[in-house]
Amino acid sequence: MKRKANILFNLERWVSYTSLIFLFLVSLPGSAQVQRFPKPEFETGYTQPSPTTPEPRSDFMAYVDVLVLLLVMSLAAWFLLKKRSRMGILWLSVFSLVYFGFFREGCVCSVGSIQNIALTLFNPSYAISLPIILFFLLPLLFSLFFGRVFCASACPLGVIQDLVILKPLSLPLWLRKTLGLFPYIYLGLAVLLAATSSEFIICRYDPFVGIFRMGAEFSMIVLGIAFLLMGLFVARPYCRFLCPYGVLLGWTSRFSRKHMSITPSACIQCRLCESSCPFDAIDNPSEALNAEQKVVNKRRFLLFLLLIPVWMASGALALYQSHPFLSRAHPDVYLAELLIAHPEMKENKDNLDVQTFLASGKTMEQLVIEAKQIREKYKTGSWILGAFLGLVIGITLMNLFVTRKQEDFLPNKTNCYSCGRCMTYCPVKK
């Protein structure tokens, strides 16, 4: 009897199953929101719970972050220019590491904000929030007035490297100049990829955010630790040879109104500060050149000045040629190319992107048209980027032959992070 009941029960199940499958077959993918099973009317007085919706960090806190940034940079400027206190900068940097780094978990930072600005300028449908604009703008304005106080005191990426400097090596000029080109390349690529709505590479390859969050994918952590280990001997490797925001800060700091100085009054040429800078950012007094050397320098300067258009043209041509490659950073272009080159991928059930595209009902023609539009943007963007990089290379080479006249030991305003180490070495007080 029991067994029979069981069979009947199973039969009932089977019927309900087949009806379910039938229902599934008749319902088209687009009609997922249709309620297949009506909401029951309960007789036992059951009250239906509602899904919980934990609130994100409030908008208000984003403005608090901006305020903290403003305060930290103002204090840093005061410590550097009025108090001439290295200790003040040090403690500020520890605070920023804890607040912007570990508490705020490194997002959004000024370095990454370049991409938000680039994206919103080229894609008006991308709405940017006001604090991000302020994060982009404030450090640049401060840099125009007081030098790179942001790097010294507020940037979590910078201060974590600054705090691990153990035994900094002095790098030869040619190496510094060569590696110093990478930030320009990184900046250019980041702007190009953000402006074409492809991706945010600065954020994706941020080496320290994994450390700040105490957890990330393995490669990210390895990258962060590698940079910190390198930073023991090559001070601030990311800031000097990669940071794209540092390029903008360098430009603004170069023309800063009141940059920190090594000595409070007149330099007595004691040379004590000469090796105090871990970043090789102190310019020594210029060597006296004889008339013949001056003429040679002037000639080379003129030659490299005239070569700048050549550099720009070849850069523009080279990157223009490589725009099909660059444009693969955009997922749509990548997918379109993949499906054209390997039509058999359509049968590959494991490739989620392909399968989702096929299920979306979008035709191959539409995808190709979209991919072509994106590639057109890359076509324009990449020759501009090439010309920009050519200009940077040309100016870097030309600058090697600028005859400058300098009598004292001075911070190089472009490269100086305003950390204040050199001030403590200066014997002149007041």
């Binding site: 199940r13 199953y17 379910l20 997922a32 929101q33 309620q35 297949r36 099973f37 009506p38 909401k39 029951p40 007789e43 036992t44 059951y46 239906q48 719970p49 509602s50 899904p51 919706t53 934990p54 609130e55 994100p56 960090r57 409030s58 908008d59 978990e105 997002c107 930072c109 938000n116 600005i117 994206l119 300028l121 894609n123 449908s125 991308y126 709405a127 940017i128 929030s129 006001l130 604090p131 604009i133 982009f136 640049l140 125009l144 492809s198 991706e199 945010f200 954020c203 994706r204 955010v209 969050r213 957890g215 990330a216 994918e217 903008l248 023309f255 997922p331 989620l352 989702t356 299920a359």
Partner: protein, 197 residues
């Protein structure tokens, strides 16, 4: 000499460059302000665009994804044979591990009255794999959906799941209305979100 003069050429050029750079920075910021929202935005999944591919579980920067399954109770049919709870093809509707769709036992089933059952998600167990979401959307009302939980999300500048989402289902939404829960809104209703990136 030049030092005694009030302005020399170098000062003048420096000042000019300073003004140009300030204008440039302010100009960029000013152009960006045109597109500025009054408030912050956060990332969210549009459940109508979601194709339950499972990348949410693996691609979040957090080692336990910020994406969790959320139950939109309003849409739930309280079925006995729940497509989000049981594996397809299960013959015996009991809580044996071989019958469970959820790999982490994060769904709790409670009997309410004949023939209805309530399903509750235990978020601390949920990994955001979307298996139950796929099951519920295929066989049921689609009341189980994936949502980015903002007590966990660190609100990256570029969401690393959004970057790999095959159906572009992840958008920025205003932070004061941070959830897109089915029933509260429909596919036709366009929220004020902006594009994916």
């Amino acid at each position: 000499m030049s030092e005694t003069r009030k302005y020399n050429r170098r000062d003048f050029l420096n000042k000019g460059a300073r003004f140009t750079l300030a204008l440039g920075a302010l100009g960029l910021a000013g152009m960006a302000v045109r597109n500025a929202l009054a408030g912050q935005t956060v990332w969210q999944i549009d459940p109508f665009q979601c194709t339950q591919c499972g990348r949410c579980a693996t691609d979040c920067v957090l080692s336990e994804s910020a994406v969790k399954c959320v139950h939109a109770y309003d849409l739930c049919g309280y079925c006995d044979l729940c497509g989000g709870y049981f594996k397809p093809g299960v013959t015996d509707l009991n809580t044996g591990a071989e019958n469970m769709l959820c790999p982490t036992q994060a769904i709790e089933r409670t009997f309410i009255e004949e023939p209805y059952f309530e399903y509750i998600i235990h978020e601390e167990l949920c990994i955001g794999c979307a298996k139950c979401v796929a099951g519920c959307s295929s066989f049921g009302n689609g009341s189980l959906i994936l949502q980015i939980r903002h007590d966990r999300c660190v609100n990256c500048n570029e969401c690393s799941i959004a970057r790999v989402c095959p159906s572009d289902a992840i958008h920025r939404v205003p932070a004061n209305d941070p959830y897109l829960i089915k029933g509260d809104f429909t596919a036709a209703e366009q929220k004020t979100w902006v594009n994916k990136s």
